[in-house]
Each structure stands twice: as structure tokens, then as C-alpha cells.
């Protein structure tokens, strides 16, 4: 019996050992089909696939299921240069709206998500041995963090600067908002790191739609100009948004050396080949591969064959947007003089006249009827009606009625582009950098004719526009009104550069930020009622069956085009088409647009965040002016 117990004991011992004791790591089980953070960041390709995940952040053209980012058209529709025909933008109708901040804010939330992702990258990239490729992706990482913080700066001003990957116990969760001055400095610093690491666009590892050194340089100029002019103009106007003790000169002084680095490389090279219309400015925005488009540094690539297409040109055919009358008035005549002192026989009631006499960029930006019936345009044969004017009533199109001034920038069409476009979306280009240099130097009073020739006049020469001459500008007797986004206290040169900026960069998403940094947002918007073209030219065309049928309408369709004032269209007493004639705020007695001057320059910090700071850490997160 004893021996049995003994053997059993030995047997059990062996069994126990064989079962588990020898496997010390029996319970250590790691994921088999997922990368863990311990195993990742081993080579430059790891960096690449990680930064690839940042690219969805860029603005995009609208497309079916991917409509989660802002489009530049939508951004500009909240300003004075574009009207969404669906109705007045609610952003511009703040009369009587509550100034209580909402509980949450999608931008605040999503940007902190992006910040966490970029911080994760920037705290790990050093694990990869440095190489040109690794540096490129490192630069992209810095660029994207700067991009996100710039969005935060523009929208909220002061924001907490977070540079670490936080966990639930991190004290930085309750970090106070850093001043917008510090935020801007921080962005500039990240962009400096980006510029240092990124390759030029023509290097294969920085091409094909990736962020490159040129883009980072222009971005730095954009940020410096934005913050510098914000500090200057809000200070001058003494608004609640001013930055105490700051004149903006520190940032404005950064612009010139930054852009000069770019000019040293890019020189006078612009995109000048003109496409089927020989209109280089227009066609700059309808390139199928911006990788080979001179002066386009950052773009969002589209390729319908890769099932990444867009329907941007839908906007042209379906007429979602219209340009307002003040766009018509902003352009210089083709001799380079403001319309009020023009020597040419300008007629605001005739688009045909304007097309012939204004800055050539007008005709390349706004559809004008001298182009003939729309269905004669390449690619529009099947999509468009044979009308040479945009449809004013919607009886035929079923889409929105528009006010006569159809944006036409980049509107090269072919049948595929209309619904499934492959043209790239231009995000950052050389011209913005050049204009930033001109504006910064004009403000600082250091702008020379040579600077103008290297910047504004280089851009103008592409379209054959008369050059800007400092002496001539200074001699003009022109009023620069604040409600037209000018500043009478600034030099004529500064105001003319503002005009140049509007003309060159319209419909690329810059306008609202420009109005805000110039501290004229409320001056421009408040009380304004958007108007379109003068009605007469349209009335005479659409109510003339003979003309319509000559252009190719059949009788029945021609009849549907008939305009009846007050029924399917209307105009104000001065004869300009009123797109919102059904909205009492926009008839003659209406009060028009309104934004709160002391509130609308910045978005409110979400209330939930303020409450959480207070409840959990007894820290007061400040709110933006005008909000509670």
C-alpha cells in the first residue's frame, strides 16, 4: 500500500509539472493578428502607413457617402462672396439667437481626437532610425498637428496646447486654454519642424498628393499672416478679440523670410497652360493630376477609376451656388483701375459687357453668356439645357433657382466629371504665399514695386491683366469702405492687396477667415442682403421664345423658362435679382444678414467641457467673448 501511495505521488508530481509548471508563460497570450504598440514603429513604412491615416482630415469635394469634411464652397457660402441658393445661411442670421454655448462642439471634440493621434505619432516616431523617408513622414506628422491646431486657433482662439498622449489620470486633461499668441507660436514651431524634415514636392517620396516642404512653407505664411493681422486689426479696432500687448508685427515679420525661401526655389513658375479654353487661371482648378501642376503644393487627389471621385461640378450644372453682385463690383477693370474710376464703358447690367471689360479673371470665375448656350460647352452637351444664361426659375431643372452669377472657376467639364469627377482639389498653392508676402509687407509699410512685380504682378501676368503700380494706386481717388471689407485707416496699397486676394483666392475657403482677421466680418455682413445679377438681361432672354429656340430649346421647354416677377423670380428696386425674395428678412423692409459683433468671430467652448473642468478639478475653463 505504501508503495502505491509513493508511486502515485511521483506520478502526480510528474503530471503536474508536465501540465503547466514548465510553461511559465502559459497565461501570457499576445494578440496574433493585430499590431501592438510594442511591435510597431520599426521602420519608415510604419511611419508612412500611420501618417496616411491623417489625410482624411483635409477638406474635400462633396461626394456621396464621404461628406464628412468641409468643402471650400460651403465655407465661402458663409461669407459675402457666395450664396447658397437653398436659403440664407443660418450662420449669418444670428439676430435674436441665444448666446448660450451648446453642450458639445463637434470641432472641439474631433480636433482633440486628431491631436491625440498626432501626439501619439510624434512621441513614437523617434523609435525609427532616421532616413530621408523617415524624415518626410516625421515632417508630415508635425504638419498635421499644426494643421489641426490652426483649425482650433481659427475657430476658438485660445485652446489648451497638449503635446502628450494623455491617459485618464493625466492632469493635462484639465489644462487651461493657452493664449492664441502661444497657440500661434506653437503652430509656427511645428511648421518649422515640418519644413525642416519635409522634402520638396518634386522628390518622389513627397509627391503624389503628400504634404511637402512647399506646402508647409505656405502654411506657415498663412498662420503668420492670420495671427499677425488678427492681432493688428482687432487691436486697432479695440474689439473684445484683441490680444493685449500684441501688435501682430512679430508674426507679420515672419512672412517675408518664410516666403522668400519658397520664391528662391519656385521663382516665377506658375501654371500657365490654358486647357481647352486657353484660360490658365480657370483651368488651374480642373487638373486631373496636380502632381504636375506648377505652383500647386497641396491637393486632394481624386480618381474616379479608383472609386475616389467627386461631384463638384454638379454644383455648376445643378446650380446650388450663386455669386453675389458685390463680386461683380469688386473686380478692377482690365486696365487695372477700380470700376468707380474706370475709363472703360462698364455696364453692370450686362454680363457680356463685364466679361469684355473687367480683369480677365472675372470671366474665368463667373459664367458669362458670351460663352454661348451651355450645352455647346465641352462635356455639358447632355447635361445642360441649351441656355446661355443660368436658369433663373427652377421649372426646368428642378434644382434651385439662382441669381444669375454662376461660379465658373475650374469648371472644365466632361461628361464624367459631372457626377464622378477626377479633378484634384487644390488646397495650398504658390499664389497664396506670394499674396501673403505682399500683404504682410504692405501692412508693415515695407512693400516695394519690386515685391509687387514678384508677387501680384506675376499672378496678374498669367491672365494678361494690367500690372499693379504703386504710384498709380497711391494716386487713386477711391473710397475703401469697411462694409466692402476694406479698411480706410490703412494704406491704399493694403486695400488693393486685399482686393487682389479676393479676386485671386475666391471660392477656395479663405474669405471668412480674411474677414475675421481684418476685423470687418460684422461690418461686411450686417445689414447686407445678397443680390445677384441685374434682372433685365435675363428677363429679355428667358421671355424671348425666339432667342431661346434659336439657342436650341424646344417650344415647350422655352415656355417653361418664362420669368414672371414675384412668381418665379424677383428683383429689388434697383433691378438686381433677389435670390431670397420669399424671405421677409431680405425684401426691401428686411434687415438682412446679422452676426453678433462681440461674439461671432469665435465659436463657443462647449459647456460640458467647462462644467467638467469645474466639477472634477475645480478649474475654470474660460469661455469666448459673448458666449456664456
Amino acid at each position: 500500500m505504501k508503495s502505491i501511495i509513493k508511486y502515485t505521488g511521483i506520478f502526480l508530481l510528474i503530471l503536474t509539472i508536465s501540465l503547466s509548471a514548465c510553461k511559465k508563460d502559459f497565461l501570457e497570450r499576445t494578440p496574433l493578428d493585430n499590431m501592438s504598440d510594442a511591435t510597431f514603429f520599426s521602420g519608415p513604412n510604419d511611419l508612412k502607413v500611420y501618417v496616411n491615416g491623417f489625410y482624411p482630415i483635409f477638406p474635400r469635394y462633396h461626394f456621396q457617402s464621404f461628406n464628412d469634411g468641409p468643402t471650400n464652397m460651403v465655407v465661402d457660402a458663409n461669407s459675402d462672396i457666395l450664396i447658397a441658393c437653398t436659403g440664407p445661411s443660418s450662420v449669418l442670421l444670428q439676430r435674436g439667437t441665444a448666446s448660450q454655448a451648446p453642450l458639445t462642439n463637434g470641432t472641439w471634440t474631433s480636433n482633440f481626437t486628431w491631436i491625440r493621434r498626432t501626439n501619439y505619432f510624434l512621441s513614437n516616431y523617434k523609435r525609427v532610425t532616421t532616413s530621408p523617408e523617415a524624415r518626410q513622414y516625421t515632417g508630415e506628422g508635425y504638419f498635421f498637428r499644426a494643421w489641426v491646431y490652426y483649425n482650433m486657433l481659427v475657430q476658438f482662439g485660445d485652446v489648451p496646447i497638449i503635446t502628450e498622449v494623455l491617459n485618464t489620470e493625466s492632469p493635462e486633461l484639465y489644462k487651461l486654454r493657452d493664449s492664441r499668441y502661444d497657440v500661434a507660436k506653437f503652430i509656427i514651431k511645428d511648421l518649422d519642424s515640418a519644413i525642416k524634415n519635409l522634402e520638396w514636392k518634386n522628390n518622389i517620396i513627397a509627391g503624389g498628393g503628400r504634404v511637402n516642404k512647399e506646402a508647409a512653407i505656405v502654411m506657415k505664411a498663412r498662420v503668420a499672416l492670420f495671427e499677425g493681422s488678427w492681432e493688428r486689426y482687432h487691436g486697432k479696432k479695440n474689439t473684445v478679440f484683441k490680444v493685449a500687448g500684441k501688435t501682430g508685427d512679430e508674426f507679420l515679420n515672419l512672412v517675408e523670410p518664410t516666403v522668400l525661401e519658397l520664391i528662391a526655389r519656385q521663382g516665377k513658375t506658375l501654371f500657365t497652360t490654358g486647357g481647352p479654353y486657353n484660360e490658365a487661371y480657370n483651368q488651374l482648378f480642373s487638373q486631373k493630376d496636380c502632381g504636375s501642376t506648377a505652383g500647386v503644393f497641396l491637393y486632394r487627389a481624386y480618381d474616379a477609376t479608383q472609386i475616389v471621385g467627386h461631384n463638384f461640378f454638379d454644383n455648376v450644372v445643378d446650380a446650388l451656388y450663386t455669386a453675389p453682385r458685390n463680386m461683380m463690383e469688386a473686380y478692377l477693370d482690365k486696365q487695372g483701375r477700380p470700376q468707380s474710376i474706370s475709363a472703360l464703358p462698364l455696364n453692370q447690367k450686362s454680363l457680356v459687357n463685364l466679361a469684355a471689360n473687367l480683369d480677365p479673371r472675372f470671366r474665368q470665375t463667373i459664367w458669362t453668356p458670351d460663352r454661348g448656350p451651355q450645352n455647346k460647352i465641352i462635356g455639358l452637351e447632355k447635361q445642360a439645357f441649351p441656355s446661355r444664361y443660368p436658369l433663373i426659375n427652377n421649372a426646368l431643372s428642378g434644382a434651385f433657382a439662382i441669381a444669375g452669377l454662376r461660379p465658373w472657376k475650374g469648371a472644365i467639364l466632361d461628361a464624367n466629371e459631372w457626377r464622378n469627377g477626377s479633378t484634384d482639389d487644390v488646397l495650398i498653392r504658390y499664389e497664396e504665399g506670394l499674396l501673403a508676402l505682399a500683404e504682410a509687407k504692405a501692412i508693415l509699410g515695407t512693400l516695394t514695386q519690386s515685391d509687387l512685380d514678384n508677387t501680384v504682378n506675376l499672378i496678374r501676368s498669367r491672365v494678361g491683366m494690367a500690372s499693379m503700380q504703386m504710384a498709380a494706386v497711391n494716386s487713386w481717388s477711391v473710397t475703401y469702405a469697411r462694409n466692402k471689407s476694406f479698411d480706410p485707416t490703412e494704406s491704399k496699397l493694403v486695400n488693393e492687396i486685399r482686393r487682389e486676394r479676393l479676386v485671386e483666392l475666391c471660392y477656395e475657403g479663405h474669405r471668412v477667415n480674411d474677414l475675421k482677421r481684418w476685423a470687418v466680418y460684422d461690418d461686411v455682413m450686417n445689414g447686407s442682403k445678397p443680390q445677384g445679377a441685374h434682372y433685365k438681361e435675363f428677363f429679355d432672354y428667358f421671355n424671348n421664345t425666339t432667342l431661346l429656340m434659336a439657342d436650341g430649346f424646344n417650344a415647350s421647354d422655352a415656355a417653361k423658362c418664362k420669368l414672371t416677377q414675384g412668381v418665379n423670380f424677383n428683383f429689388d428696386v434697383d433691378g438686381y435679382i433677389n435670390p431670397f425674395f420669399n424671405n421677409p428678412e431680405f425684401n426691401s423692409a428686411g434687415a438682412g444678414y446679422f452676426v453678433e459683433p462681440g461674439r461671432s468671430y469665435l465659436s463657443p467652448v462647449p459647456r460640458t467641457e467647462i462644467d467638467l473642468y469645474l466639477q472634477k478639478a475645480n478649474i475654470t475653463l474660460t469661455q469666448n467673448p459673448g458666449w456664456f
Binding site: 502559459f26 491615416g53 467641457e609 467638467l612
Partner: protein
């Protein structure tokens, strides 16, 4: 044909049986008196029969009997509650007999975790079911056979498809609104219950009480189902059993379409009610009527564009349910087993085939299971034994492929069955009509095949090194491989002009999808136990160790564009972009466990169970956790002061258990990076770039959920062991459930990880009573019967939950009771403008025929209050519970002279749901979501001519959930009815058989009552508003032969 043959055989055998006659010998008269062995009380009603014969008498109330017998005859004395005794007749004429009281089933040994226990000594709620209840029934899986048998063991039908298995739950809510499943162990190892052949089951123990399952620790927080398979018995002669049955299934609760012109008129009515132009023209409706009455022979006219008329132009009269489903279909089951044993070796071998046929027309929709089980045990020496089990199960499932989505029964019941009745299956040119689901249902759109191989190998040893000491260990390996093969084919429809188009009910590109996965599971355990009794003190100590290791790997591939539909493989498809993916994961556990049981005179009982468990999913520092359990019992009837002799056993039980639930997910503490393969609308360097995303924030502290249970109960045996009653009350508080973390500022940049911060509680009770007795004699034969009843109920509620500010859906509120149904109160259908004016409206424009709702809180609005919190419900009120309350089961058996009858009933007295599914409410939404079935026609919609109709006017208006259209799912169902006959031994031996048994058994026979006003299956209504694969009523005819 098979059925007919068996019936003939049955009749023949029965005829032979009645023609036999007994041989006569010289009789003598024997008298006797019978007393109980312990108390010497006379026993009345004892049956005294001659062995092998039919003659018999009963003892009178003084225990006396008289019987005629010859020397050499054997008297068999039997009465419920006492051990049956056999006495050989010798020369004496007077017999004094005492019968030993059997504690009847109380003496039964019940299988519990890592051991067995006498039923009378259990201190926790355990119910054991004999495997016989699963046999001779037309069920396709073990789980189906367990429905309604055990109080507190909830077996819920999912749907009626051939591959579906009911879901299992013990004692209700296990977490926040969830009803987790018990651990299913087959011969001690976790198995898929669907892979077990019901014929191989010896018995099933349901460990309901946490105290009973505590020995399994965190592997079994919510009960255990212990299945023991059959074995041979030592010294038993070799036996061969054959059982076979043929089944006929018919659908239950299948709706049928009303005529197409009625549907079209209803849809037009909807349009007119919405002040819109009707979609069906009068001419088309007339054509529907003409087609219906046979005046027209085609049902569709070509359109000018060469296509067949579409949605509103067709004029057939088609009931899609008849087109899609069979009225009846045959299945079969066959089992063959061999068993036996010598003095030291036993063996069992079972082979089984089970075919479950579905109802879908023509697509060969079915599940077939082939199983084999081999068990051998041998004692090598008197102190050492080894055993081997081998189980191989192969399941083949074939199903339809609906629009490339595989077995999408929801699509089948919603879109295919919901097609307009004015469409038909084939176009007039005999090609598939492009809107018809018929070809898809017949398998023309491809098929979905699933094949599973479940291989199980297990070896064990038992050592008895000294008296009272047992050491045993086992090692098991389970390897399950799954193969999926989904073939999607386009269906081509020929237009009226001879051109082709793709059917709208199939894919447009052929595709083959193949998936293979293999899971590998190893487990080993080692236990040692010691048992000792002295001075009526009984001790049992057991200690053990167990470990598990699990690996799963899968590979899937799919490719479009087959060269030929007849060879659907990845290799024979040519699309340049095949899709490939795989998945791998693993986990491991270790656990040490122990049990200490003590009882004194089987009167005072105490048991402790504990387990120390670790799971690989948690970080090393918090990986191990300890789960103790205590339970005790007191058999009051064994006390001297107990005077109620009629109650011979009365045991009070109580228990406390702390358990653990490790939840789902495998590497909870390890952050991993996500991958996105070109999913966003980004193009870089000419292609969609691959992206990697940062790891989620994971909690280093996330740990087990900790259910803590208390339970009390009693077991009583009365009336000479004929009556057994037990009652249980329990409360399970599930602490530390993973819930949303406290809200943090979004500067965190991600969602904070879940933390163990939620608590919910479930309370319930169970009651079971069984009565077993002999009844009267009929035709000189004894009638035996038994009746069983069980009922249970539970309720659950939230104790603690972190609410997210602003979030309304998907959150819980402390105090919220699970499954409560809140609806508006109806104020009837408005008959005129005055009725409408009197009511508060929900918003919008109302006309007569609309349903009015009551403004219960008088605030002038009809709304559901503040975000659906249970304490602020606006105008909605509680009307019941959406899960079955007070579920009960009733079963009844009677046998007489070889015949037996068994009836099983399951019932729910209290169960309410609201559904807006078109199987219930035909009149909301657009024309594609509005139907007109025969049953709905009978209920009628409101119109000025029919103001008493059940439904409101036919319009696209929907109303909030309201009490007028509540479904009361209370019912009492005849779950199974079986009539069987066992041939008399003499007769069966003529056929060289030991036992021959024939039966007819019907599953889901029907309802004794069903309160719902739509007569679909209550489960299907509750699960999917009626839009679920219909259940089947199964008729089976079978025979069992034992040699």
C-alpha cells in the same frame, strides 16, 4: 413509404401479441401480509404479480393479499416509495414480507461538478434530467428537448430554421438587460450542445445555483449544464439498440397573402388617404381580378420599352408564402448503439444520423448531423483504471443564398415574402420574373453551405491508492473545423423583347466566398478526493487543478466572376481583385479548486467550494482571482421532534457564492493598432493608401465582473415518496460589470475605457412538484402515471450605472427594471372630426380613422417624457414585460400494459410585446412596408363603412407603441405528445430481440390557448415581430429495437 412499412409492422406485432395465451399449471393459493421494514406498518396497495405474467393483485388496507400461484413462480411486489422485491414461491402458503423503503429518487446519485452527490445531500439547487426524455422525440438537438422541463432553466427558440439551436439561460438576467448562457460541459469538457446526439445522452444535470457551479469558478458564472453521455455497465451483456424514425414537418403560423386586387386597392386607399394619386390603375386592378378568376391566363404585359410590366403594372395573384415555402417536408433520424461490459471493462459505441429539413421550397435547405461516440473504460488493476472517449460529429448545413447575403432570414421574411402579390414567379415567357424571389428561394441565386467537423478525444485515469482516496486526471482535445462556402450567382431574367436583364433579387456578379476556421482546444485536469466517515460524521475533501488553452485561426477568401457557375471555386474565378483575410486569436486559463463537504447523519449538511482562477486576457498583476462559495442544509424531517410522518424528508437549504465572469474579448489590457485598407476617400501616390490607426486607450485595471448570489430553498418528499416538491429563491447581484467610464474632458482625445462600475441585480424563484403513483387497474393491468409541474419567474433591475450626460439611448438608469414595456394608451380610433377635436394630437394633421392617444399627464402634449428615463415617461405607461414571466411546464405520463402516453406542455401566462412589423401592423409606412395578409383582412381597417374595424385607416401614418395593438403572447403549448407501445417480452424474443418499442411523437402539436391576436409563434413574434423563419410541427413515427 418507410412510415407505412413501420406501421404495418406495428399492427402485425400487436396482433401477434394479443393472440398469445398463458400456459396453465396446478394452482395454489398463497396469502401474505406486507409491512414496511422500518416502522412495521402494514402497507396497502402493494402490487403483487407473477413475474412474466399479467396476473396480479393488490394488498388491502391491512397489508394482506391473496394470490394464485404454482411452485417456482416468482412474485414481484412493488409499490411506489419502496424497493421492489421478488419472492420465489416455495412450498409455504403464508408469507410475511417486509418491504424496504426506498428513498426513491432521493437515493439517486446526481452528477455535480467534479463528482457525484446523493440527491438527498445536495445543498444547492441542481436538477437532473434523465436522457430518456430526449429519446423518441422528433427534435434535432438536445436543447430543444429540454424546453419547459426545468424551472429556472430557460430554453428560448431563436427561429425555425434547420440549423438554429435554442439559446440557453439559467435564472434570467445575468447583466444589464442581458441573459447570458450557462457553461455546457459534456463529460466534463466544454462542448457545443448542438453537436451532441440526443440519443447518446445518459443524463443532464442543470446546476442552477451558483453554489453548485462554484467549483467551475469564473468559467461558469451563470449556471452549468452537465451532460453525461451513455456508457456500458460492468457485467452487462452486450446490447445493440437501433432506433429509427421518420418525420414530417409542417410550418406553424405561416401567414398567407390576401388577393392581389385587395392589396392594390388597399395601397390605393393609402395614397388617397394621403391626398395623392393612387399607384395602381383601375384597369390593372380589374386585370388582377380577371386573372384571379381565370379570365386572363397571363399576368403581365410587355411595356413599350420591351420590359415586362413592373411593380404597378403586373396583375398576378400570388401568395409568396406558398411560392416560397413547402407545406410539409420529410426528415429522418437513425441511431445505432452497442454497449456492454465485462468485469473490468465497459464500452459504448453510438452512431447517429439526424436530418432536419427546412421549409424553403426547392433549395434543399437542411442540416444533417452524423455522429459517432466511442467510450471505453477499463480497470487495469483494482486501484488503477483508464478510460478513453472519442467523439466525432460532422454537420452539413445547406441553405439558400438570398441576394448574395447567405442565409439572411430577415431579408427572406421581410423582402421576399413581402413582395407584392400582383407579381409572380415566372414571366409569361417562363423566365424568372425580375422582381420575383422564387428563383432565389429555389437556389438559383446560389447556395450557402456550412460544414463542421467536431473531433473530440479524451483520456482519463482513476487511481484508488487507499481506501477513501480517489485521484483522477483527464486530458481532452477538441478540434473543430468549419468550412463555409457561399456561392452567389446572378439570375438572368428575359425581357419581353428577348433581351436579358439581371434579376432584382440576385447579385449582378457571380461570386464565391470560402471560409475555413479551425479551433483547437486543450484542457487537462487533475483532482484528488478523500472521503471518510466516522461516528456518523461524513467528510469529503476534494482538490483539483485545471488548465485550458484555446487557439482559433480562420482564413477567408472571396472572388467575383466565375468562369462557369458549375465550378464555383476561387481558382475558377477571374476577378483581378480577390479578397483575402484571416483572423487568429488565443487564450488560456488556469484554476485551482477545492471542495470540503461535511454532514452529520445526513441531517446537518455543509459544503464549501472555492476556486482560484486566472485568465490570460487580464494583465499579470490582476490576473488571479478567488471565488468562494458556502452552502448548508438541514434535513428537519430527520429530527426527533418532526411529527409530520406524511412528510418524510424536509430539507432547508441556503447558500452564498461569489463568482466571476471574465466577459468577452481576448487581450483587454494590450493596446493594438487598427488597420484600414484603403477605406477612406484618400488617394496618395496614385492609390488608396493603407492606414494604421492609433491604439484605443485600454484600461490596465479592467477585471472580472463579479456576480454574487444568495439562495434559499427547500426540498420535501411526502406521501410515501410519491410527492416531491422543491422551492428556491435566489438573488444574483452582478457587481463590477464593465460600463462607461466617468465622463472626462475631450482633451483626452478618445473614449475613456470602460471600467468595472455597473451593478445589476436579478431576483427570482422556482417551484417544482412531481407526483408519481400507481392508479387503478384496467383490464387486469396496472395503470401507472406521473405528473410533473414546474414554474419559475425572475425580475432584474439596474443598481448602478454611469450615465453619460446628453446620451439618451443605450444607457441605463439606476432603478430601471429590465424588460418593462411602456406604451401610449389608446383612446380608440377617431370616427369623426369631433373625436379628433377632443383629443390631444401627436403632431401632424389627423383625420377620422386615425388612432387617438391619451394625454395621460395632461400637459397638452403626447410625448414619451424626458429621454425615456424610467422615472419620467411622459404619456407612456407600463403595461407589462417583454420577456416571458411565470413560465411553467407540465408533463404527464401514463403507462399501461406496454402502452404509454406522454404529454409535455409549456406555458407562459404573462408576456407582452409591441411590434410595428408588417406581420403585425399592415398599415404604416410606404407600400413596400404595408401588407395585406388574410389574417389582417379579417381584422379590417377603419373606413366610414367599417368604423368598428380593428386597424386604423390604411395610411402611411405610424403611431407610437400603444396598448391597442399590444400583443399578448400568453399561451399554453402542447410541446410534445407521444404514444408508444412496447411489445411484450415473449413476443419480442420471437424476433430474437430483447425489446421492441414503437411510437408516434408530435413536437409542437398546438396550443391549448394562445392569447395573441396574430397567430404566429410567440417566440417568432417576440424575436422579430413575426418576420422569422417559421417553426415546424413535427410528426414522427419511430421504432426502437434492442437486441
Amino acid at each position: 413509404m418507410k412510415v407505412t412499412t413501420k406501421l404495418l409492422l406495428l399492427i402485425l406485432l400487436a396482433a401477434l401479441h394479443f393472440s398469445t395465451f398463458a400456459q396453465e399449471k396446478t394452482p395454489k393459493i398463497i396469502t401474505g401480509s406486507i409491512v414496511s421494514s422500518d416502522k412495521k406498518l402494514p402497507l396497502s396497495g402493494v402490487s403483487v404479480v407473477l413475474k412474466g405474467g399479467t396476473k396480479g393483485v393488490q394488498s388491502d388496507n391491512k397489508g394482506q393479499f391473496t394470490i394464485n400461484a404454482v411452485i417456482g413462480d416468482v412474485l414481484v411486489l412493488s409499490i411506489v416509495g419502496f424497493t421492489t422485491k421478488e419472492i420465489k414461491v416455495g412450498s409455504e402458503n403464508r408469507l410475511e414480507i417486509s418491504l424496504v423503503e426506498s428513498i426513491s429518487t432521493l437515493e439517486d446519485v446526481v452528477v455535480v461538478g467534479f463528482g457525484k452527490q446523493k440527491k438527498s445531500n445536495l445543498t444547492a439547487a441542481v436538477t437532473q434530467i434523465d436522457g430518456a426524455v430526449l429519446r423518441n422525440r422528433p427534435i434535432k438537438s438536445v436543447a430543444e428537448g429540454l424546453q419547459g422541463l426545468v424551472a429556472g432553466f430557460n430554453v428560448n427558440t431563436v427561429n425555425g430554421s434547420p440549423e438554429s439551436n435554442p439559446s440557453l439561460n439559467v435564472r434570467g438576467f445575468t447583466g444589464l438587460g442581458t441573459q447570458g448562457s450557462p457553461l455546457v460541459l459534456v463529460d466534463g469538457v466544454e462542448r457545443n450542445l448542438g453537436d451532441i446526439n440526443p440519443n447518446d445522452v445518459e443524463n443532464i444535470s442543470i446546476l442552477k445555483d451558483a453554489a453548485a457551479s462554484a467549483i467551475y469558478g469564473s468559467r461558469a458564472p451563470y449556471g452549468v449544464v452537465l451532460v453525461t453521455t451513455r456508457s456500458g455497465k460492468k457485467g452487462e451483456k452486450a446490447r445493440i439498440n437501433f432506433s429509427g424514425s421518420s418525420l414530417i414537418g409542417t410550418p406553424i403560423g405561416m401567414p398567407h397573402w390576401a388577393n392581389s386586387w385587395e392589396f392594390a386597392e388597399k395601397i390605393n386607399e393609402k395614397y388617397r388617404n394621403s391626398l395623392q394619386i393612387p399607384v395602381f390603375s383601375n384597369a390593372t386592378i380589374q386585370k388582377m381580378k380577371d386573372y384571379g378568376s381565370g379570365k386572363l391566363s397571363v399576368w403581365n404585359d410587355p411595356l413599350p420599352n420591351g420590359q415586362w410590366g413592373a411593380h404597378y403594372d403586373s396583375y398576378a395573384n400570388n401568395d409568396w408564402f406558398s411560392t416560397m415555402f413547402k407545406d410539409k417536408n420529410p426528415s429522418s433520424q437513425h441511431n445505432l448503439d452497442f454497449s456492454g461490459g465485462s468485469n473490468n471493462t465497459t464500452y459504448y459505441m453510438g452512431l447517429g444520423y439526424n436530418k432536419a429539413a427546412g421549409l424553403i421550397v426547392g433549395s434543399n435547405d437542411k442540416k444533417e448531423r452524423f455522429s459517432s461516440l466511442l467510450k471505453v473504460k477499463t480497470d487495469v488493476t483494482d486501484w488503477f483504471g483508464i478510460g478513453l472517449t472519442m467523439n466525432y460529429v460532422k454537420s452539413d448545413e445547406a441553405g439558400l443564398n438570398i441576394r448574395g447575403r447567405g442565409r439572411d432570414y430577415s431579408d427572406m421574411m421581410v423582402n421576399a415574402a413581402g413582395s407584392f402579390p400582383n407579381w409572380s414567379d415566372l414571366s409569361p415567357n417562363r423566365s424568372p420574373y425580375w422582381l420575383s424571389s422564387g428563383p432565389t428561394m429555389r437556389g438559383d441565386g446560389g447556395s450557402a453551405l456550412y460544414n463542421t467537423n467536431d473531433l473530440f478525444l479524451s483520456g482519463r485515469f482513476d487511481l484508488k491508492p487507499a481506501k477513501g482516496i480517489n485521484v483522477s486526471g483527464s486530458y481532452s482535445w477538441k478540434n473543430i473545423s468549419n468550412h463555409t462556402n457561399v456561392i452567389s450567382l446572378p439570375i438572368i431574367s428575359i425581357n419581353a423583347d428577348g433581351t436579358q436583364r439581371n434579376s432584382g433579387r440576385s447579385v449582378t456578379q457571380s461570386e464565391v466566398y470560402r471560409g475555413m476556421s479551425t479551433s483547437d482546444y486543450h484542457t487537462a485536469d487533475l483532482t484528488a478526493s478523500y472521503q471518510k466517515t466516522f461516528n456518523k460524521h461524513d467528510f469529503q475533501i476534494m482538490a483539483g487543478y485545471q488548465e485550458e488553452e484555446y487557439n482559433i485561426t480562420s482564413l477567408i477568401g472571396s472572388r467575383k466572376d466565375l468562369y462557369t457557375n458549375s465550378v464555383p471555386t476561387l481558382h475558377t474565378a477571374y476577378n483581378a481583385q480577390p479578397i483575402l483575410d484571416d483572423a487568429l486569436s488565443q487564450w488560456a486559463t488556469q484554476g485551482f479548486f477545492g471542495r470540503f463537504a461535511y454532514n452529520y447523519k445526513e441531517k446537518y449538511l455543509f459544503e464549501f467550494n472555492g476556486r482560484y482562477d486566472a485568465h490570460s486576457k487580464f494583465p499579470a498583476d490582476i490576473r488571479w482571482s478567488y471565488f468562494p462559495s458556502f452552502s448548508a442544509g438541514w434535513n428537519v424531517a430527520k429530527e426527533n421532534f418532526w411529527k409530520f410522518d406524511v412528510i418524510s424528508n424536509f430539507k432547508i437549504r441556503g447558500s452564498y457564492t461569489s463568482s466571476g465572469d471574465n466577459g468577452s474579448g481576448n487581450y483587454l489590457y494590450l493596446p493594438t493598432l487598427g488597420v484600414a485598407l484603403g477605406t477612406k476617400d484618400v488617394l496618395l501616390q496614385g492609390a488608396k493608401p493603407n492606414m494604421v490607426t492609433m491604439p484605443d486607450l485600454v484600461s490596465p485595471n479592467l477585471t472580472w465582473t463579479k456576480p454574487k448570489s444568495i439562495g434559499i430553498g427547500f426540498d420535501a418528499v411526502a406521501s410515501r415518496n410519491r410527492l416531491e416538491v422543491s422551492w428556491d429563491w435566489y438573488q444574483r447581484t452582478t457587481y463590477d460589470q464593465a460600463g462607461p467610464a466617468e465622463v472626462l474632458p475631450v482633451t483626452l482625445g478618445t473614449t475613456p475605457p470602460k471600467t468595472n462600475n455597473s451593478v445589476s441585480e436579478t431576483r427570482g424563484w422556482e417551484f417544482t412538484a412531481n407526483w408519481k403513483d400507481k392508479a387503478f387497474r384496467f383490464g387486469k393491468k396496472q395503470v401507472n402515471y406521473s405528473v410533473g409541474f414546474n414554474i419559475s419567474d425572475y425580475i432584474g433591475y439596474v443598481v448602478k450605472y454611469q450615465n453619460i450626460p446628453g446620451a439618451r439611448s443605450g444607457t441605463w438608469t439606476p432603478g430601471e427594471v429590465f424588460g418593462e414595456l411602456y406604451v401610449y394608451e389608446s383612446n380608440g380610433i377617431a370616427n369623426n372630426a369631433g373625436d379628433i377635436a377632443k383629443n390631444v394630437l401627436q403632431g401632424g394633421f389627423y383625420v377620422p380613422g386615425d388612432l387617438m392617444l391619451k394625454d395621460l399627464n395632461g400637459d397638452g402634449k403626447i410625448n414619451s417624457g424626458d429621454g425615456g428615463f424610467w422615472y419620467s415617461q411622459g404619456d407612456i405607461k407600463k403595461v407589462g414585460y417583454t420577456y416571458p414571466r411565470y413560465r411553467y411546464g407540465l408533463n404527464f405520463q401514463v403507462d399501461w400494459n406496454g402502452f404509454d402516453l406522454s404529454v409535455q406542455l409549456t406555458g407562459v401566462p404573462y408576456w407582452k410585446i409591441y411590434s410595428s412589423s408588417f406581420y403585425v401592423m399592415p398599415v404604416a409606412g410606404d407600400q413596400f412596408n404595408s401588407k395585406w395578409f388574410v389574417a389582417q383582412r379579417e381584422l379590417g381597417t377603419w373606413s366610414y363603412e367599417n368604423t368598428t374595424a380593428f386597424y386604423p385607416r390604411y395610411s402611411s401614418r405610424g403611431y407610437g407603441a400603444n396598448d391597442r395593438y399590444l400583443l399578448n403572447l400568453a399561451h399554453l403549448r402542447i410541446k410534445n405528445l407521444r404514444v408508444g407501445y412496447q411489445l411484450r417480452q415473449k413476443l419480442s424474443s420471437r424476433f430474437k430481440t430483447d425489446r421492441v418499442y414503437m411510437y408516434m411523437s408530435i413536437e409542437n402539436l398546438g396550443y391549448i390557448y394562445n392569447k395573441s391576436w396574430v397567430k404566429y409563434e410567440p417566440e417568432i413574434l417576440a424575436n422579430s415581430g413575426g418576420a422569422g423563419y417559421p417553426l415546424q410541427r413535427q410528426y414522427s413515427f419511430g421504432i426502437n429495437i434492442r437486441i
